[in-house]
Amino acid sequence: MSRHFYGTELTSPLMLGTAQYPSPEILGDAVRAAQPGVVTVSLRRESAGERAGQAFWSLIKDLGVPVLPNTAGCHTVKEAVTTAHMAREVFGTDWVKLEVIGELDTLQPDVFGLVEAARILSDDGFKVFPYTTEDLVVAERLLAAGCEVLMPWGAPIGSGKGLNNIFGLRALRAHFPDVPLVVDAGIGVPSHATQALELGYDAVLINTAVAKAGDPAIMAEAFRLAVQAGALARKADPMEERDMAVPSTPLIGKAMLA
């Protein structure tokens, strides 16, 4: 378990998105309650026109939490690369959460464009956090392209369905024991976040689950506690589960030969 991302240690395994809150003030309340290691912020749509999102970005900067800009809403390599450059300029960071969306309804990543954009940005000195699927081969390609972090989805963005493919996420963890892994997208309730940490993931990224809760600040606190619980459980080395449906050890006083 590592909270080191490109050599920087985060204070919490919780990454919090800043979109869709009822107001910047409530966003601020949620950030204070979640105490996240980073906040992510979208530049693509807000950028329409030169620096037109400056007022909102200033509010994000004032939160006092490290900023991980993202390329949400980008559908092509070119858009994503341009947006990353703008993010570097606006936020003074070379970190970028890279999203290249391949399908409009599910917002599933276009993994082919993702690898290409990751290579271009890594070569240009960016520290890329790619939003990907749990596909092992894609993961290999992203690492080869220069990524030192992987952010597989739990489920489609905004679906709240939790960890859809536990087997795939376990496999990814097992194949890349030393790569920081973050479950990004699909987390709906705090128990999903706990589960991701229990699986050995280094962090989780939440946005809609907090922003669209009836009380975002309370939900943010629930997530803070949930990632703590998951991280502690992982540290404590959980027991193995046993399948009682498979007969094995004879019970005392009752010989079993089955």
């Binding site: 910047p24 409530i26 329409a48 026109g49 037109a52 999102g53 909102f56």
Partner: protein, 324 residues
Amino acid sequence: MQGTPRILVKGAGVAGMTAAVTLAKRGGRVTLYDPGGRVGAGASWMAGGMLAPWCEAESAPEDVTAQSVASVDWWAAHVPDVVRAGSLVLAPPRDVGEVARFGRRTSHFQTVDGEQIADLEPDLAGRFHKGLFFAEEGHVDPRKALVALLESLKTMGGQAIFNEADEPDAAGFDWVVDCTGLNVRKALPALRGVRGEMLLLRCPDVALHRPVRMLHPRIPIYIVPRADHVFMVGATMIESENAGGMTVRSITELLNAAWVLHPAFAEAEILEMGTGVRPSFPDNMPRVIQDGRTVYVNGMYRHGFLLSPTRAQEAADIVFGTAG
């Protein structure tokens, strides 16, 4: 204060017009000034005009509802053509879960099934099977309402100046009520702009009697009927101060929502594409702020028609020395 206070109201958007009329009604000698050439030269012209205290409660602080319940009455008392037919909240089949979530966050509605929806809006018969009906809400055509407030101001003896060349000197007034939105950022640095985009469509094949909100997890949109089969479709909420033309994406999202509501919108005529930038404070709540003899009414966000009557009263209470 002695005698009749002379008041300069700056800004002829919804905040300025409600303030001007309220102040004049309470006995002030009001001069209205807006260099924009007419009433509603800013974001107010693009407003939906929904008077929906309970629908707004879904995502706004409770204060919004508490402070706006009387708003429908205020508008009905001050401008013609306020429609009090309630509002309807619907979702396409896949997102029908959003209806229950919306309901949990608010009150003063009744859950309606397909038959009841068809009774309320015959043109939507068979298209939706679950929704919420907020019977006590209303709506108004913002443009007609602003023009009506200007007439009312003039009737009460108020003066309106729309030329920059004729800008009145503030020194000649006892009070300045400043409702100029983002123009006063220097005085109110917490202000930011939130971009909104809207469409006006004419669709003779569809008749609606009340605003319909279409729920979607990412793209919630509303459609407000105006007179003569004109519909306002809005509105995006983007953290940007760009007042430039509408984007293809926003147009597509708004038109898709209209189409989902009723396929006849496919043949609708696009009358207008509008963009406005809403002045907003960090809590997205409008404020009345006194600084000496200046009273700022600002930060209407998306609540201009809903909350400006209350804010106008607060401003008037300061001017007339009756603030609590």
